[in-house]
Structure formats: C-alpha cells, structure tokens
C-alpha cells in the first residue's frame, strides 16, 4: 500500500519557537506508548528542557486490543522555562488507533494537533471504540489540525531488510511515531538509536527494525514538511542533571541512606502496583550490599524488614494502600519494639483494590491512625518525583535517630512521573550513621529501654554483641529494663513516652515556609504530589494580582513546629487534596483552625485550570 500522507497544514519556512508544549502519546496497551513517551522524555531532558511527565495506563496488562479499556497514554510537558505540572490540555495528541483518539480527544486543546495512525481506523476498530462514523472524514475533527499518517504500513515498508518478521516489524510503529515527533520538535535520534541497540542487543533484527522505523518517521516528517517547532532549553541552576522518576529517586535515596548510615539495606517487599518498581530497582544493586527479599505476603515483607532491623540492618518495606492495611499490626510491633523501620506507601485510589494504577492521597489518616492502641509514628511526604530522594534519606534519618518506624507517603503520580533532577553532590549528603550499643549501661546490666535524654531513643544493641543479650516483644514493657510489665502507671508512662518521642522530632525538621505577596490574606496549604499544580495555580493567580500565599507540608507527623503560627497569619486557609479532606481534618483538630477543603478523587492530579477557578472563587 502506498503511503498517503495528508498534506501538511502549512509549510514552515523555519522552525517556530515555542515556550512550552504538552504532548500525549496514546495507543493500545500493547503499542508501546510508555516506552515511546519515555524515550521522548529522555531526549528532551538531555536537550535541556524542563519537563514533567505523567503516564496513564490501564490496570489490565492487555485489555482487548482496540478497546477503550486498553488505552495506555503518556503525557509530557516540556518547556524553555521552569514548569511544575504535566499540563492539563495536550496541544498534541498522537493516537495510534480509534480508541486512543476517542479516550483522549476530550482533553486536547481546541485547535491542537492530532497525529493519527490512519491504518488502524478500519471498521472493526472504529466499532470497538464506539465510533458510528469515521472521524477521519466525517468532519468531527474540523476544529483540530489533523495529520493523517498511515503509520503501520509505512513502518512495515521501512523495516523490510531488517530481518524482522512482519509482526515484529509492525510492532515498531511506535518508533515511527517517535520519529515523526522527533522531527517536529527537533529532538535528536542518536540517543534512542543507541538505546534500542542496547535494549535489543540479543535480537539484532528487532533492533534494526526499530531503528529503521524511527528514521523513517523522522524522514517522513521532513519530506512531508510537517510543522516544525523548537522549544529552547530551560534556564536551570548550574550543575549536572538527569531525568528521574519518583520510584527511581526513592530507590536511589534508600541506597544513599544505606551508604550514609553505613548500614546494609534490607528490603522485604511484596509486589503491588504502583510500588513494585522500587523493588525491581533495588534488586539490581547487590554490589551495594542491598538485600531484597520478595516475601510471601505483605505481612511477611514487613516482618522480614523488622527482623533485619533487629539485626542491625536498614530495614525497609515498600507497598501501596492495600498492603499498608496488612502491615498495620507489624507497624504496631515496630512502635513497641522501638526499632528503626521505613515503610513506603505509594498511594493509589481506594478503598479495597480501588484504582491500582491511578493516584490519590487518601492514606494520610491511615498512616496517622491506622493501628490499634496509641501508636504514633512520623510521616514524611515527598512532593515531586525528584524529592523522593530527599524523602527517603529524611525518613531513614528520623527512623535511625529516634529508633522508630517511619511512613513515607508517596503516590502513583509522583512514583511514575519524571522530571529533571539536579544530581546532588555525594559529599553534601547528611551523615546519618548510628552507634550501636556495645557496653552494659546500668552497672553490669544492659537495659534495652534506657532512653537518650534528648531524643528519647532507646539503645540499639544488635545480636552478636556479647553481654547485651536481651529480649524485646510486643507486650508492654517497663521503661528502662524492658521487662514485661502490666503496671498501670508504667503503661501510662510508656504511652506518653512514645508520644513524646514523636513530638520531639518537630525540633529537628525544617520549619514550614510559605511564599506569596505581603498582602496575601489567603493561604493554600498542600502536601505530597499536589505541590506542582498548587504552585503553578498560585503563580497564575498572583500574576493576575490576586493576593494568595502557599505552603506545602513535607512532614505530616509531627508537623513543623511553626505550622500553627504560619496558618494563623492568614484569614483563610484553603486545603486542596486528592482525598475527601484528610489534611484538613488534621489541621482542624491539631490547631482549631477553620479550613476550606477542595477535594478531588478522580484518580488523576488536580487539573490546574479547575483548581484555579475554584481558588478564584474562594479568594475574597
């Protein structure tokens, strides 16, 4: 079949410069859209653009081909300036089939570009997507710039000679699409060619087919003279950068915590979306002495991590909401044993199985209160993909210094999203090394619950240390000796001490900062992954002269010591959250401050346009 490209809408004399672009790649879950988006991101990052990405994939591994349920998408927002969100409305949609068009068209900016794989717009696929007529020629897309490209057939033509089978060759059409986009936004092909060579090192014919398709797509863009644009590099602080996803940053942060604490890392984990990638990533770094154990269940995973912590390792477990439910009892044990432990919850939509691949911030109160008895523990929350590195180190620092389990609350949006990361200098990372108990601390005896006067932490004596043999358990124990105690006054004391130990951490964390104009009477408070959107919206409001300040909590328990003072400076405190008002509840109960909640639980980040109009109405 001969290639029949639609004539370009206009022929550019030269590349038009754009400050920012939002592109969404969408196709069947087998079409390789995540990989395509990932490669486009990688070259854009290396080119020097600032960027934020958001993958959106179905929970089903392979939903029926061509169906709406099977559509997988990847959005990238890249720019020549500092940006904070993956963008609300794509200006460009690449749709590999009718279902991808149908599922995503509603989000695309009017007048935006649609790059469509016309080969897939046959009767069967149109029916599966629920189109009663073909949008390619029924006029329904008239308000968009439509590029009709027979990507499948052009890919098959281009891979002849690669040695790949027809089916294998056809699967390279995602690289054809990437080639087209690479031409349009002047992205280099070489890094992707190199990447493909490595990825398919063992299957040369497939590597060749992918490279051929990539080049063919690029050449098509050039010869068909498709619109071409340029997005210049962003001005970022000097230094070395790389692109990083939240889960990758978490894994690196945990390894850094192991190195900086001089403790071997031990991860007990059970696979769960969207946390499994942290297990996958950590399992690769055995040369750092990293032990990863895929446990039989969530309970075993935290039990193993706790056993490792008892033995002197940096014990970690990673999970998502349903797993946190199962880990609750062992968290209580860790609180009672007063051992350092890091529990990472990558939040997803709940309750129950809920929305496994979609984001939500609805485990905050679970992390705060989801255990029987009085069982407080510190909570740290990253606010962007790159900040996961900081959050992992910070969680380890608190866990080790105060001998307590810590919950790190990430979310699906942060976990899978990517952004450029200013790589920190290793010698500037904090020293979080610990000193194990080595000597008896009361005469000839060792008391495992004799506390440090300042941190209230108990000594950490690990097996193998002669003379410090001791037993710990979940039964209430006498402060000091650690022996089982049912004494009423002792239980009161121990309960108060466990509270005080968490409270004292507020002296040891950064104060809450807020920014905004001096005349601001309204404060927008957020936590976690909403950081970027809230920031961008507040920026826009201020640019329009609306007085608004914003603050973002990175420690949820304890909150920074000045939190109450900051909140009280404002007449109105607005709390946007991807839940039904959990931080709001905490603020109200902790500080007796009235809050206004903005809640959204659609499995997606806030739309900045919607958040902006909601805030607009609330600002006097």
């Amino acid at each position: 079949m001969a290639a029949q490209a639609a004539p370009p809408a206009h022929i550019p004399a030269e590349r038009k410069e754009l400050p920012r672009v939002v592109v969404r790649f969408a196709g069947d879950s087998g079409d390789g859209m995540q990989l395509t988006g990932d490669r486009f991101t990688s070259v854009s990052a290396a080119f020097g653009n600032d960027l934020v990405t958001m993958p959106d994939f179905p929970a089903e591994i392979r939903a029926p081909a061509g169906s709406l349920a099977g559509v997988s998408a990847f959005q990238i927002h890249f720019s020549d300036h500092d940006i904070l969100t993956p963008g609300d409305q794509p200006g460009v949609l690449v749709a590999m089939n009718p279902a991808a068009l149908k599922a995503n068209l509603g989000d695309v900016m009017r007048g935006g570009m649609l790059i469509l794989n016309t080969d897939s717009f046959d009767k069967r696929n149109l029916e599966k997507a629920g189109f009663s007529s073909n949008p390619l020629d029924d006029g329904s897309l008239d308000s968009y710039q439509v590029y009709k490209i027979p990507m499948t057939s052009m890919t098959i033509d281009s891979v002849k000679g690669s040695g790949a089978s027809k089916k294998e060759g056809e699967r390279s059409k995602n690289m054809f699409a990437l080639g087209v986009l690479s031409w349009m936004y002047s992205r280099p092909l070489e890094p992707t060619i190199e990447y493909l060579g490595k990825k398919f090192a063992k299957k040369e014919s497939i590597a060749k087919a992918n490279v051929a398709a990539l080049k063919a797509g690029h050449a098509f863009g050039e010869t068909a003279e498709l619109s071409a644009f340029e997005v210049k590099p962003a001005t970022l602080a000097p230094g070395r950068y790389r692109r990083i996803t939240g889960n990758q940053a978490l894994a690196y942060g945990l390894i850094a915590a192991s190195v900086q604490s001089k403790l071997p890392l031990f991860l007990g984990s059970y696979p769960i979306t969207p946390a499994s990638d942290v297990l996958h990533e950590l399992a690769r770094y055995k040369n750092f002495g990293v032990r990863t154990l895929q446990a039989e269940d969530e309970i075993a995973a935290i039990g193993m991590a706790l056993g490792a912590a008892f033995s002197g390792h940096l014990g970690i477990t990673t999970t998502s909401g349903p797993g946190l439910d199962l880990k609750s009892e062992t968290l209580g044990l860790a609180i009672s044993l007063e051992l350092p432990l890091i529990v990472i919850d990558i939040q997803r939509g709940g309750p129950s199985t809920g929305l496994p691949t979609k984001t939500e911030q609805s485990d905050l109160l679970h992390a705060m209160y989801g255990r029987h008895g009085e069982a407080p523990l510190p909570i740290v929350a990253p606010y962007s993909p790159a900040s996961c590195f900081w959050a992992a180190l910070e969680s380890a620092r608190i866990a080790l210094k105060y001998m307590t389990p810590v919950i790190l609350l990430s979310d699906g949006y942060i976990a899978n999203g990517a952004e450029p990361w200013h790589i920190p200098s290793v010698d500037k990372l904090p020293d979080i090394s610990v000193r194990f108990a080595s000597q008896p601390n009361v005469g000839e005896d060792f008391w495992p619950y004799l506390r440090d006067g300042e941190t209230l932490a108990r000594p950490w004596a690990i097996p193998g240390t002669a003379g410090l043999e001791h037993r710990v358990g979940g039964l209430e124990k006498a402060d000091g000796t650690g022996n089982i105690s049912y004494d009423p006054d002792n239980h009161q004391l121990m309960t108060e001490l466990r509270q005080a130990k968490i409270k004292v951490i507020e002296e040891d964390i950064d104060p809450l900062e807020f920014d905004g104009s001096d005349d601001a009477r309204v404060l927008v408070v957020g936590w976690g992954g909403t950081y970027g959107t809230i920031g961008e919206v507040c920026r826009r409001l201020r640019a329009r002269g609306r007085p608004v300040a914003r603050a973002h909590l990175k420690h949820l328990n304890p909150m920074p010591k000045n939190t109450g003072e900051v909140l009280r400076r404002f007449e109105k405190v607005i709390v946007p959250e991807l839940n039904m008002g959990q931080l709001s509840k905490l603020i109200r109960s902790e500080f007796l401050i009235e809050t206004v909640s903005i809640n959204c639980v659609r499995g997606l980040p806030f739309s900045s346009t919607e958040l902006e109009s909601e805030l607009e109405e609330l600002i006097p």
Partner: protein, 357 residues
C-alpha cells in the same frame, strides 16, 4: 568479606569459632534468663525449655549469636526465658521475622518457637514459605492440639469431633498432620518427638541444630489444663511400648515389645503394620532419612492421623538443599566481584545526564 556493618559474610550459621565468654565453659544456667517462668504448673513447655537450655552449651555457639523468635501463644513466651537475643513477635509472624534475621545475618543461629495455632493457623503461610525457602531456622512447633492462651478453643490439629468452648457440638474440621504439611512444603529436616521424652527430645534438638537450612520439629506437648491426656496413646505406660515407632536411619522399622511389630511396604506401595514373626525381618521397610524423594517420608507421616495408635517419632527426612541466606550472600559477593563495590556518586549520575553551565 564484610558488609557495611563489619559483619562477616563468610561465616555460616554453624562453624562459628570466635570465642566469647569462653565457649565450652558455658553451662545450662548461662542460658537461663532472669525472668520468672509463667506457664501453668504441670505444662509440657517446662520440659521443652529445660531440654533446650540443656543442649545449648553443647552446640558451641556463643550466646550472643543465638536468637529466639516467637509469635503469640503459650509457647511463644519461650524467648523471655532464654538468656540470648530474642523477639516475642506477633501472632503467626515469627517465621517471617526470623527469616529477616537469618537472611540479614547468616552468622546467627536463629530458633523459632511456635505452636499449632500460631504456626499452622494464623501463621501457616509464613511457616510453609520459610520451609520452602530453606531459611536457616530451627523451628520448634509445640503441638498441644488446643488453644491454651485464649482458654481452650479447638486448633487446626484438634481431632474431628473435638468438643471445646468454640465447638460445643464437636469440631467438624479435618485436622492438619504437621509432618505431612512440612514435607509437602519441601522441608529439608522434619522430625517429631514428645515433651516427656528425656533423651529423644534433646537428641532431636541437637539434630535440628546441626542441620543447615530449615529444621522443623513437631513436639507433642501436653496441655494439662485444656487438653490433658491428648497424647496418652503415646505416653501411658502401655502406649509408650505399643505405639511409639522410633525411626532410625538405615534400620528396619520395628516397634512394640522387643520389636515384635514392624512396617512393610505392600506391592501396591502402601505401608502396613505387620507382625515380624509372621513376615520375617527382611520384609520390613528400612528407614532412609536422606532419601531425597519425600514420598516415603510422607507415607510414614500418614501411618497415624493423630497420636492415637502406633505413631512414628524421630527424623522423617534430612536432606541437603541450598540454604536461602547462602544464596543471597553469594549473589552479593558475585555482584561486588563483577561490578566492584557500590559507588554512590556513579550510581546517581548513571543514565543520560547533561550539564548546565
């Protein structure tokens, strides 16, 4: 080679040679903690505690290298009474916590003390997976066929028809056979003994301690408060003679007075109890605990559904299989040898990077 912590990665659970507190001079008393033992008077747990404390000095492992881990239940108070490191965990989770300890620190000798409720009901999943992985753990399952700490409900090993507080009309459930379960879970060491066995019990403990990998011992333990006499078929004067079948490696399996009875395999592959005088010794099954195929050991475990008639005691199976922690350590060593020790700065700058001036 050592890890970040200076822990040796080379020593295994056995062969710990570094002297501390003078090994060899340790006595039973050195393993007795200062805590008052609080089981019911007459409980079978006392005898097991005494047996464990008595064999510990013989093992040549310094006290500080020994960890006892338990869950919840009467048996799970055990760690408090041992002057070693110990964790009294939560219900059913001892094998998981112990797996973390043993795989993080292969230099330690880790014991798990559990019961029929803790190990086979709420913690059944962890038990079978610890056995499957062959984690270097010595697992003592005190089987008294009842829930004691919660005051007398039926357990997963209680016999069908058992009348308890929670089954006033009798239990309608099929009980587990713990030996069959352990063998099915690929356990490499499986044995059974009785709390009142003054010689056999310590011998089984020694054998378990000497085994590399998961060692599982079912110990019939009398609960004199809620299930007294559950093992009378094996502990009464008459039962002791008639019903205890001691398994000994490489020996024909014989029991009862003067070994007058024995076990024979039929042509159809079933095991049957026979009079030796009728069939002759040559017909008897010779026990081979090292047989890798667990089929015969499984058949032996099925001879009695519970401790009601002739019941095998001793080591059903003892075979060698790679130990979980060893596999983990050798991967760490191989990675460090291949890639060199981890370099954090290099890791953080891996992948595509770019510089901004």
């Amino acid at each position: 080679m050592t890890d970040h912590n200076g822990h040796s990665l080379d020593e295994g659970g056995r062969g710990i040679t570094e002297a501390s507190g003078g090994i060899g001079t340790l006595t039973r008393e050195d393993f007795v903690s200062d805590q008052e033992v609080r089981w019911c008077p007459g409980c079978g747990d006392y005898a097991i505690l005494a047996a464990v404390q008595s064999i510990m000095p013989e093992l040549g492992v310094p006290r500080e290298k020994v960890v006892f881990v338990s869950g919840i239940g009467c048996s799970s108070r055990f760690p408090y009474y041992m002057n070693t490191y110990g964790v009294h965990g939560i219900h059913g989770r001892a094998p998981a916590i112990a797996t973390g300890i043993a795989s993080a620190r292969p230099d330690l000798q880790v014991w798990v003390v559990t019961g029929d409720g803790d190990g086979l009901s709420i913690g059944g999943n962890h038990l079978i997976h610890a056995l499957r992985r062959n984690v270097n753990l010595k697992i003592l399952l005190f089987n008294n066929q009842i829930y004691g700490l919660t005051k007398g409900q039926y357990s997963p090993t209680s016999e069908q028809g058992k009348v308890t507080k929670s089954t006033p009309f009798g239990s309608v459930e099929q009980p587990f056979n713990p030996i069959s379960l352990a063998l099915g879970a690929e356990a490499t060491f499986v044995a059974r003994t009785i709390d009142v066995e003054r010689k056999h019990l310590p011998e089984m403990l020694r054998r378990a301690a000497a085994h590399r990998g998961s060692a599982f011992i079912e110990i019939y333990q009398n609960c004199n408060i809620f299930n007294d006499g559950a093992f009378l078929a094996l502990t009464s004067k008459e039962g002791r003679t008639q019903n205890r079948i001691y398994l000994e490696h490489n020996r024909p399996i014989r029991f009862d007075r003067d070994g007058s009875k024995g076990i024979r395999m039929t042509g159809a592959g079933h095991l049957e109890l026979v009079d030796v005088s009728e069939v002759g010794e040559k017909e008897l099954l010779v026990h081979d605990e090292h047989r890798y195929d667990a089929g015969l050991a499984f058949a032996l475990s099925r001879l009695s559904a519970g401790p009601h008639g002739p019941t095998p005691l001793g080591v059903f199976r003892q075979v060698e299989r790679p130990v979980y922690g060893d596999g983990m350590e050798s991967q760490l060593r191989a990675a460090a040898a291949d890639q060199g020790p981890g370099d954090l700065a290099k890791l953080l700058s891996s992948g595509d990077t770019w510089d901004v001036d």
